[in-house]
């Protein structure tokens, strides 16, 4: 009959393929039970076939292991415990539990995040390489760093350690310590992978603590398929494989270098664009300046010309109107003068002439009338005319008879008639 028993391995020895274990149980850190157990070589082979290489790791002193045991009683050796099987799941859980305990402890001690606070240079080209030379991981790492298309200008200082086995933790810690004294940008811890139990060394409290305390950023490149080990968690940068660690380093630099180049190109391009843009803007501005200046000037010229034309027109109008006034005045002078002359010619002088004519006619007619009157009188008084009508003139001694005085008797009287002169003697005078 087999029993499942949990026991802590206190000691483990191997002889001829057989494994002899000293199992203990502890209460409050004191051994409460102690017994030896044996894994016969055949059984071990079977277990190993089932679990794999982790079996060595699982059956290490200090581990609590879930065994399937058969209790035998031997006449010579007494009560014996024969291990017939090991449940690795329990061990894994145990590893995990201890890992968690380590994490807790590191956190409690304030060490857990120390690496995270360290500055990992973006150009990490001086590398302290801790690992086992000759392993595949080691080779991969180096060859990646030395022959990639991006950046190869690395300098590597190697610290050779074993990465598995009982001495591994101690050697790794030593290497870490020594690396501190070098002027490197980063410490890379490599392990080419392995089983869970293989990698358990990196869950080691001491090792993890030293990683935390490293003044130089630590990069891990521990190949694993599943959960990270404590070293991964506390280090500055965890990479899943040595190759990944190498890639991280050169890609980091490559990215940086590319960003740098892009940034600088961008600065140059933008600067040139900016200057070109400003020049364009400036040229436009200058064109506007010229255009608007000329436009304004043109307007001023138009205005001036308009003003000049206006003033000229007004001046000319004034002069022209003055000239017409002058012409009018001169015309007036002329027409008034000619008028005056015409009046004199057509009216004054003819009037005078008419009056002259009329006056002379009047004088002549008056004189003519006067003369006619005299002539008529003369005719009337003409004696011959009197005789013709039967009158006669008698004279005595040449004196008109009517004028005679004295004694006329006897006197000879001459009487003139139309018949001739009659001579007679006065014989009588008869008075009225």
């Amino acid at each position: 009959m087999n029993y499942w028993v949990v026991a802590e391995i206190a000691k483990a020895n191997e002889k001829n393929g057989h494994h002899y274990l000293e199992l203990v149980d502890t209460v409050d850190n004191r051994t409460s039970a102690l017994m030896t157990a044996t894994i016969w070589a055949g059984t071990y082979k079977n277990i190993r076939a089932n679990i794999g290489n982790d079996v060595a790791e699982i059956l290490k002193p200090g581990n609590k292991v879930l065994f399937s045991m058969r209790i035998e009683f031997h006449k010579v050796y007494g009560l014996k415990l024969n291990v017939v099987d090991v449940d690795p799941a329990y061990s894994y859980g145990e590893v995990e539990r201890r890992k968690q305990a380590t994490i807790e402890r590191l956190k409690t001690e304030g060490l857990f995040d120390l690496q995270k606070a360290l500055y990992l240079p973006v150009i990490a080209k001086r590398i302290a390489l801790i690992g086992s030379p000759g392993t595949a991981g080691h080779r991969d790492f180096r060859s990646k760093l030395e022959s990639n298309a991006i950046y190869t200008n690395f300098t590597i200082k190697e610290f050779a350690t074993s990465v598995q086995g009982d001495k591994a933790a101690k050697e790794l810690i030593e290497a870490l310590k020594e690396a501190q004294t070098y002027d490197v940008d980063a410490i890379v811890i490599l392990r080419g992978g392995g089983s869970k139990m293989d990698l358990n060394v990196f869950n080691d409290y001491e090792l993890s603590k030293h990683i935390c305390l490293s003044k130089i950023p630590v990069i891990t490149g521990i190949g694993h398929e599943h959960d990270e080990v404590v070293s991964d968690l506390v280090c500055r940068k965890m990479c899943i494989t040595p190759t990944a660690a190498a890639e991280f380093l050169y890609i980091q630099i490559g990215t940086f270098s590319a960003q740098l180049r892009q940034g600088f190109d961008a600065v140059l391009n933008h600067s040139r664009e900016m200057v070109a843009g400003l020049k364009d803007e400036f040229n436009y501005l200058q064109k506007y300046l010229i255009h608007h200046s000329n436009q304004l000037l043109l307007e001023y010229q138009w205005e001036l010309n308009a003003e000049a034309h206006k003033i000229q027109k007004n001046f000319i109008q004034l002069v022209q109107s003055e000239k017409s006034d002058l012409d009018l005045k001169l015309d007036k002078v002329k027409s008034q003068s000619i008028h005056k002359i015409q009046i004199s010619l057509s009216s004054d002088l003819p009037n005078q002439l008419e009056r002259l004519k009329l006056g002379s006619e009047n004088v002549l007619s008056q004189r003519s009338t006067q003369l006619n009157g005299l002539n008529d009188l003369l005719k009337m008084l003409d004696p011959e005319r009197l005789l013709d009508v039967g009158y006669s003139i008698s004279t005595i001694d040449g004196v008109d008879v009517s004028e005679m005085t004295g004694d006329l008797l006897g006197k000879t009287m001459q009487t003139t008639t139309s018949l001739g002169v009659l001579t007679s003697e006065i014989k009588t005078i008869k008075k009225d």
Binding site: L356, S360, E361, L364, N375, L378, D382, P383, G398, D400
Partner: protein
């Protein structure tokens, strides 16, 4: 009867008036009467002629510029 060559119209008229006056006053002797009358007639003719001539002359002076 002959008049002085340069007898003036006014003088002729005066003498005419004188003769007419004499005739009116019958102060002319019958013997002179005929002579006086003749003289008067001559004077009248002289005067008339003078007037006619003057008129003609004046017309000649004035007319041409009237036409």
């Amino acid at each position: 009867m002959k008049l002085e060559k340069d007898l003036k119209y006014e003088e002729a008229l005066e003498r005419l008036q004188e003769i007419v006056s004499l005739l009116e006053r019958k102060e002319i002797k019958i013997d002179d009467l005929a002579d006086k009358v003749k003289e008067a007639k001559t004077l009248v003719e002289f005067c008339r002629e003078k007037l006619d001539r003057t008129e003609t002359e004046i017309n000649k002076i004035i007319e041409p510029s009237e036409g």
